[in-house]
Amino acid sequence: MSDILLEVKNLKKYFKTPKGMLHAVDDVSFTIERGKTLGIVGESGCGKSTTGRCIMRLIEPTSGQVIFDGVDLASLSGRQMRKARKDIQIIFQDPFSSLDPRQTVLQAIAEPIIQNKLIKGTAAIEKRVLELMETVGLAERLINSYPHELDGGRRQRIGIARALSVQPKLIICDEPVSALDVSIQAQILNLLEDLQEKLGLTYIFITHDLSVVNHFSDDIAVMYLGKMVEKAPAEELFAHPTHPYTKALLSAIPVPDLRYKQDRILLKGEIASPVNPPDQCRFRKRCYMSCDQCKGKEPSLVEMTPNHFVACHLCQIG
């Protein structure tokens, strides 16, 4: 049996808009091994959340394959897909809007268990909910509380407990800590790390915060306007960022350490429109290194050094 849990091949998602086709995710491919974490980084509108949702088919991909544990999810019927979602769960960014305000903690965590008919009998379900609450660090006394009575960190723990309740293999974490305060952020990150170790979970960690990703991931993929522009093991990416966009992104993170001084690469302008993009490097107009070469065809992702992939004409010339 191979170690690869998820393989995404040439995933595309185009949205029809009055102005033309919006290329939200454009030909993205990657694989994740069992028990590992892939970080997907990028700014708003780069397609990172859409990628996450396409994997679960919460959004139907336009084309491409999502092979999960040997099964192509795109070929499944609605009913089969619902079953498959038991193995793939998602944790959303905003614990304030992702919980039903009229459900108690018990009801919220029990819902997926009941939906999937995993356990029968009220007492048994409640026992399982209490177990899950303990796993994610929620005090037993909160079992009948409503979301509005809880702070963001605790709400996010409910989201995690809901995801864990069906014993998934893969969890897609879509900005799970960006709505939380730093001291709470660290608590949740540590919890996710512990759970991975204990339950052998595989994560896709979608975030705009590079420092969080660095801490958390085995591999990191950087996305820009629907394209994957660089992918490498986390340490390699931070040590040798190669794509001009990755370099700029890394240099833009404010570092809370006065010893750490670096030259900032300020990008010109803003992210371009993803509607009907030309067949060129999408970063070209903001790139501080672009040359005539870049006006040619869109660069493809090429393995520069082992496991380090870059999509840039200049870098590929050397």
Partner: protein
């Protein structure tokens, strides 16, 4: 001691409560700080620490009811703003002190062009007719890096970063002496954040403004501020120059904040979060509000209000652990 004339802002013993029907939220508790002309003070803390309430008090904009300024003075350029009438205040806001809010999407009016919105601020404070004010608005746009012709466009035609530039243009239109920026880049992407912070730094230098930057991001503080005040549960628990606070943090909460951060420079195996949660602001302990989460706390900390301890320069923190002279935090001082 700094010369009184060098200070643009002196806040003394400011106390603000939100009085609700059956409970009182102690949002700001006896906060005092000073800010020199042309200096930048970073106000750090988590949600509910009282940062924004402190800032709103300076503009006398606390929503009342339920907000009540219980006591203290806020001297802006020597005058207490809390004594001003409504009319006097409206002359100060936008002219002497301006504020930038977190969310540029909601702080602009969607039915007026951005030029009109900048011109509005100018016409209130300067004797200019509409045409001249609009021309100045165009100049302001250019200063923040937006072509002047775009003054006739509406907010929805701009991206998030551009809108925040427009907000900055409005704030700076009348050359205020003090700019309060409340999480000005939190809603923006990192590369855009870098652009906006850069612009703010540059304009601050150009106009010699003082600035209070409210943020939860210690990285932004490190890059922008001269001084830092750390707030927790309505109090300033540590204050000092940027170097003092970042290199030789003294308060256990400040240490906890630094430990919670994933650091790019050093890929640590495990984060050390601060256990527990911020206390309920309606039921604060009698003594140190951080004591229930503090790894160094002694039983007495809950009951005894901490005193200010001074560490030379402007650096002080409020922590009773320093009663024991040999006490020091686990985090090692950084020697540059």
């Amino acid at each position: 001691m700094e010369n009184k004339n060098d200070l643009i802002l002196e806040v003394d013993h400011l106390t603000v409560n939100y009085e609700l029907e059956d409970e009182t939220v102690e949002a700001v508790r006896d906060v005092s700080f000073q800010l020199g002309r042309g200096k930048t003070l970073g106000l750090v803390g988590e949600t509910g620490a009282g940062k924004t309430t402190t800032a709103l008090s300076i503009l006398n904009l606390i929503p009342d009811p339920p907000g009540v300024i219980k006591g203290g003075t806020i001297k802006l350029d020597g005058d207490n703003v809390l004594d001003k009438t409504i009319k006097e205040m409206s002359r100060i806001r936008g002219k002497e002190v301006s504020m930038i809010f977190q969310d540029p999407m909601t702080s602009l009016n969607p039915v007026f062009t951005v030029g009109d919105q900048i011109a509005e601020a100018i016409m209130i404070h300067e004797k200019l007719d509409k045409k001249a004010a609009f021309e100045k608005a165009q100049e302001m746009l250019q200063i923040v890096g937006i072509p002047g012709e775009r003054a006739a466009e509406y907010p929805h035609q701009f991206s998030g970063g551009m809108k925040q530039r427009v907000v900055i243009a409005i704030a700076l239109a009348c050359n205020p002496q003090l700019l309060i920026a409340d999480e000005p880049t939190t809603a923006l992407d990192v590369t855009i954040q870098a652009q906006v912070l850069d612009l703010m730094k540059e304009l601050k230098k150009k106009y010699g403004m003082a600035m209070i930057l409210i943020t939860h991001d210690l990285g932004i503080i490190a890059e922008t501020c001269d001084d830092v005040a750390v707030m927790y549960a309505g109090k300033i628990i540590e204050r000092g120059s940027l170097e003092e606070v970042f290199n030789t943090a003294r308060h256990p909460y400040t240490e906890g904040l630094f430990n919670s951060l994933p650091n790019i420079a050093e890929r640590k195996e495990r984060l050390k979060p601060i256990p527990g949660l911020m206390p309920d602001p309606t039921k604060l302990p009698k003594g140190c509000a951080f004591a229930p989460r503090c790894p160094y706390a002694k039983p007495s900390c809950i009951d005894v209000m901490p005193e200010e301890r001074h560490f030379g320069g402007t650096h002080y923190c409020s922590c009773n652990a320093y009663d024991d002279e040999s006490f020091h935090l686990e985090r090692e001082d950084i020697v540059l």
